[in-house]
């Protein structure tokens, strides 16, 4: 059984895991970070999206061992305490979530999009979100939230 050291939300953790332990199970079961969800078994729904070294990955489709030596950020590590990340804040402001189950993956995916494309068009947002399924919102307000966050973040960046 491999021993792995992963920096999760800024803290290094060392654990022994089964070689076939999925990253999502490692996060949920070994670290009790249950914000990362499992919504399917075919790598389709995106409820499990986390960041590895800043880029979004589906934690159901990576082994925990693949995260050895890497930086992993989960939804729990995105906000600074009770201060929400601009993408989280925009999801609340634009009512971009209902049941909340797909939300962590949606938010992590959107943060990655805005890191690479700070002002995406509606089509670009919709295309990017193909790997994240939401059954509640009809996507309308998720798209609005991401546009809102993009504006907020670029204004902030311009002011700095």
């Amino acid at each position: 059984m491999p021993e792995i050291t992963v920096t999760v939300n800024g803290k290094a953790v060392t654990k022994t895991v089964d070689a076939n332990t999925l990253l999502v199970d490692f996060l949920r079961n070994d670290l009790a970070l249950t914000g990362t969800h499992v919504g399917c078994d075919t790598s389709q729904c995106g409820a499990c999206v986390v960041h590895m070294n800043g880029r979004s990955v589906k934690a159901c489709t990576a082994f925990a061992a693949q995260a050895d030596g890497q930086q992993v950020t989960t939804i729990e590590g995105l906000a600074d305490g009770t201060e929400l990340h601009p993408v989280q804040a925009a999801f609340k402001e634009a009512h971009g979530l209902q049941c909340g189950f797909c939300t962590p993956g949606m938010v992590m995916s959107a943060v990655d999009l805005l890191a690479t494309n700070p002002s995406p068009t509606e089509d670009e947002i919709r295309s990017w979100l193909k790997g994240n399924i939401c059954r509640c919102t009809g996507y309308h307000n998720i798209v609005k939230a991401i546009q809102m966050a993009a504006n907020e973040m670029s204004q902030k960046a311009a002011a700095e």
Binding site: T42, H95, G100, T137
Partner: protein, 791 residues
């Protein structure tokens, strides 16, 4: 209006925990010393179980226990909550639905063996060591063939596979109207089977406390009290005071989490057998096979018109798939939630509806967002648009000619229900304006110039929500009352705890219900806590489905609040030495009319708990009230949707260019949440119309059993929407609300298909079944006539 009161778009209070990833869904909860359960399920649709050998599994590493159907012969089957009586007073056939299959399996996914182990992996590994000897039987899949018989019966009790043969309406009046009709439109259509696919898969944890003899079931439910009742009373024989059912954060339901499922009963029962908690979480493939599916009707419809396009009569013949067993509310969906809506928004004087419900070797079918009403709306709104095209009347015009007018309410339909209020021209007007319908012709020409086909589709839907008056549904076969309960507990320092029987699995009750409390009591929203989902905390409840939370649960809340306000008046009158009739309650303050004497709500609350100076001869201390609200009627939300599509005839690829929804939900408490509900419903409706289909092969294998094969709507499949509301308040509940949860899923499918048929009309295409995939559209174009425009 305050910024948090009724009508304000208050941001949701529940969002923080979901956005932080600190919500608590069933799978996020673990119990000390818990075990894990894996269900070995049937790979065959129809077979006898000749033998089961579990001996190797029982010896496998980590295995705690293995159970089969043999262990459940003394335990009740899963009950059905609605008895439909068919023609000639013949009751429906109601076969036993065992917890674990015994002797026979009836659909792929039927659970046969439960393996409990120290880890999930060990349970799965052990399940691999189980040998089952099946005797495969022919599968009953197609409903028409099922009725023809041929010797294969899903249940011995129904040799012809018919669960019931039900009718509603006046057949003689319909026949008479057809005989003198100027025009008759006919249509055969399929309402495609769907998989609800809430993003959170079902899950259940059973716990038994030997010290207190208490059971706890943590489960993904829309109605924990209903589960407690069904499972406790009918399956396991556990009295209510010994059974807690807790539905924590629930990740979407759409109907699929109303019903009592075998896994819930198993983990609750099993926890006592093994003396340890048992956890089960569905994999998505299990959800596809075992969550109750939706829709699945095959219908023939005919509508008779006079020379002015006024509808004279409607007749429908429908086969409705029940699947392999009767799910909790299955029989009422194609009957009382379907036939009763066939008048739609129209004055059609004579209607007859026949529904034959059929058992097949497929997953059980029950309510899915809209439940019966989408099926009714689809066939009615499709045939209205088809009739309009045949008679050369516009889609708008034929609807307007047939609308029930505002001065005709309350309106008795020929299919049993009485609409309380509505203004159908108003929502039509608003939809037309928002859709820029006047500019459609120009847009169609522009599309044509680019080689594209453009079409527009209308749907004017009605639904019956806020279910329902208990005596009425009782007379129709419901085995439960359909009221709702609320308790308002004013704490000594003036904060308020509300215990509601409604359940939020995304609808935002923590916000909406708190707005109602803040508005009525004049206190800040942060002084209000909404508690739901736990039978140990909430006195009683019937749960959330059928767009009933605010119309029924909200009404119970208002009635409880009124009791609080009234008791407060008695206390205030005593404190201010005034007569009770002179006390008024305004903006959170009790005032003596015509004086400057007043007491705040907080002062009254404190006095109720510190009753030193108190009308103790008249009333008890404390400030807590409960109300049960039984609705006086259904509510009738209605609206008009307009969809505009553009089709590439070379590929059949179809894009929704514009989608407008004008809904009348009565009064609106939180417009932001209401819009969100409409958006979500629309995408489920568009999904049904264009993408989704639960396809079975002739052997009863579900061919679309994962997100790889079942086409869920994704962000790039759907447009943004223009949604708006008109208001005719409901006349019979205290908030004047009607319900908004299902509208989108009801109105969207016919709007989309009508638009596609309009676009394809030049090719002589007058109907296309859902889902209208590019392939189907391409085939229709290529099988059709040459386009008239091309000549």
């Amino acid at each position: 209006m305050s910024d948090t009161g009724i009508g304000s778009a208050v941001k949701r209070r529940e969002d923080f925990r979901f956005l932080k990833g600190i919500g608590k869904y069933t799978d996020d909860i673990n119990q000390p010393n818990q075990t894990y359960c894996y269900f070995l399920r049937s790979p065959l649709a129809h077979a006898t179980i000749n033998s089961i050998d579990t001996s190797a599994a029982e010896r496998a590493e980590g295995v705690v226990a293995v159970f089969t159907g043999e262990h459940f012969t003394e335990v009740g089957g899963i009950p059905c909550g609605w008895l439909v009586t068919g023609k000639d007073e013949k009751p429906m056939v109601e076969p036993r639905h065992p917890i674990l299959a015994h002797g026979k399996v009836r659909h792929v996914g039927d659970p046969i063996v439960a393996v409990i182990a120290e880890s999930l992996q060990q349970a799965k590994d052990a399940a691999d060591k189980i040998n089952i000897d099946y005797g495969e039987l022919p599968a009953v899949v197609d409903m028409k063939k099922a009725l023809e018989g041929g010797g294969t019966a899903v249940h011995d009790e129904a040799a012809d596979n018919m669960c019931f043969d039900w009718e509603l309406g006046d057949k003689a009046a319909v026949d008479e109207a057809f005989a003198k009709a100027h025009h008759v439109t006919k249509l055969d259509l399929v309402n495609n089977r769907l998989v609800p696919n809430a993003m959170e898969p079902r899950a259940a944890i059973g716990v038994y406390d030997m010290a207190t003899e208490d059971y706890t079931l943590v489960t993904t439910s829309q109605n924990p009290h209903v589960i407690r009742l069904l499972m406790g009373a009918f399956v396991l024989g556990i009295p209510e005071h010994k059974l807690r059912v807790w539905a924590p954060d629930v990740g979407g339901g759409f109907g699929s989490k109303i019903y009592h499922y075998a896994e819930e009963a198993f983990v609750t029962w099993g926890a006592k057998q093994i003396g340890r908690p048992i956890k089960w979480v569905a994999e998505r493939s299990e959800s596809f096979l075992t969550d109750a599916h939706g829709r699945d009707h095959v219908s023939h419809v005919e509508m008779a018109f006079d020379e002015n396009g006024k509808a004279l009569a409607l007749k429908t013949d429908t086969l409705a798939n029940m699947g392999a067993y009767l799910s909790t509310f299955a029989p009422c969906i194609p009957t009382w939630l379907h036939g009763t809506l066939l008048a739609g928004q129209y004055t059609t004087p004579a209607i007859h509806c026949n529904v034959k419900a059929i058992f097949t070797n497929t997953t059980p079918v029950d309510a899915y967002r809209g439940a019966g009403r989408p099926e009714a709306t689809y066939l009615l709104e499709r045939i209205m648009s088809k009739a309009a095209a045949e008679m050369g009347i516009g889609q708008e015009e034929i609807r307007r000619r047939n609308f029930i007018k505002p001065d005709q309410f309350p309106y008795q339909t020929p299919v049993a229900v009485v609409y309380d209020t509505g203004d159908y021209d108003a929502s039509m007007d608003k939809a037309l304006e928002l859709a820029d319908y006047a500019g459609f012709g120009a847009r169609k020409s522009k599309s044509a110039a680019e080689g594209k086909l453009r079409g527009v589709g209308f749907a004017s839907y009605i639904e019956a929500c806020g279910i329902a008056p208990s005596s009425l549904v009782g007379s129709l076969g419901a085995r439960a009352g359909l009221y709702e309960a609320a308790t308002v507990r004013v704490n000594p320092t003036g904060s308020v705890s509300v215990m509601t029987g409604s359940h939020s699995h995304g609808q935002g009750h923590a916000t909406t219900f708190a707005q109602v409390v803040a508005d009525k009591l004049g206190i800040p929203m942060d002084q209000v806590e909404i508690v739901h989902g736990d039978t140990d905390k909430v006195p009683f409840g019937m749960g959330t489905y059928g767009s009933r939370s605010l119309a029924v649960g909200g009404s119970a809340l208002v009635n409880a609040l009124n009791k609080i306000i009234d008791k407060g008046k008695t206390i205030a009158a005593h404190l201010m030495e005034a007569s009770e009739g002179d006390i008024e309650f305004v903006d959170g303050t009790y005032k003596v009319k015509g004086t400057d004497k007043e007491k705040t709500f907080g002062e009254i609350a404190l006095t109720a708990y510190v009753p030193h100076q108190y009308p103790i001869e008249q009333i008890e201390p404390g400030l807590e009230e409960t109300a049960f609200y039984d609705p006086k009627n259904f509510t009738y939300p209605a609206g008009t949707y307009i969809c505009e599509v553009e089709i590439d005839p070379a590929t059949g690829q179809t894009r929704i260019d514009k989608f407008v929804a004008a809904d009348d939900f009565g009064n609106v408490v939180n417009p932001m949440i209401v819009e969100g509900q409409v958006h979500g419903g629309l995408v489920q409706g568009i999904g049904q119309a264009m993408l989704e289909f639960a396809a079975y092969d002739e052997n009863g294998q579900l061919q679309t059993g994962s997100f790889m094969d079942y086409t869920m709507p994704r962000a790039d499949d759907v447009p943004s929407f223009d949604v708006t509301t008109t208001v005719t308040p409901c006349t019979h509940n205290p908030l004047g609300v009607k319900g908004c949860g299902e509208a989108g899923a009801i109105g969207a499918p016919p709007a989309v298909i009508n638009a596609i048929c309009d676009a394809l009309s030049a090719y002589g295409v007058d109907h296309i079944d859902m889902p209208a995939t590019p392939e189907k559209i391409w085939r229709a174009i290529n099988a059709g006539e040459k386009p008239m425009a091309a000549e």
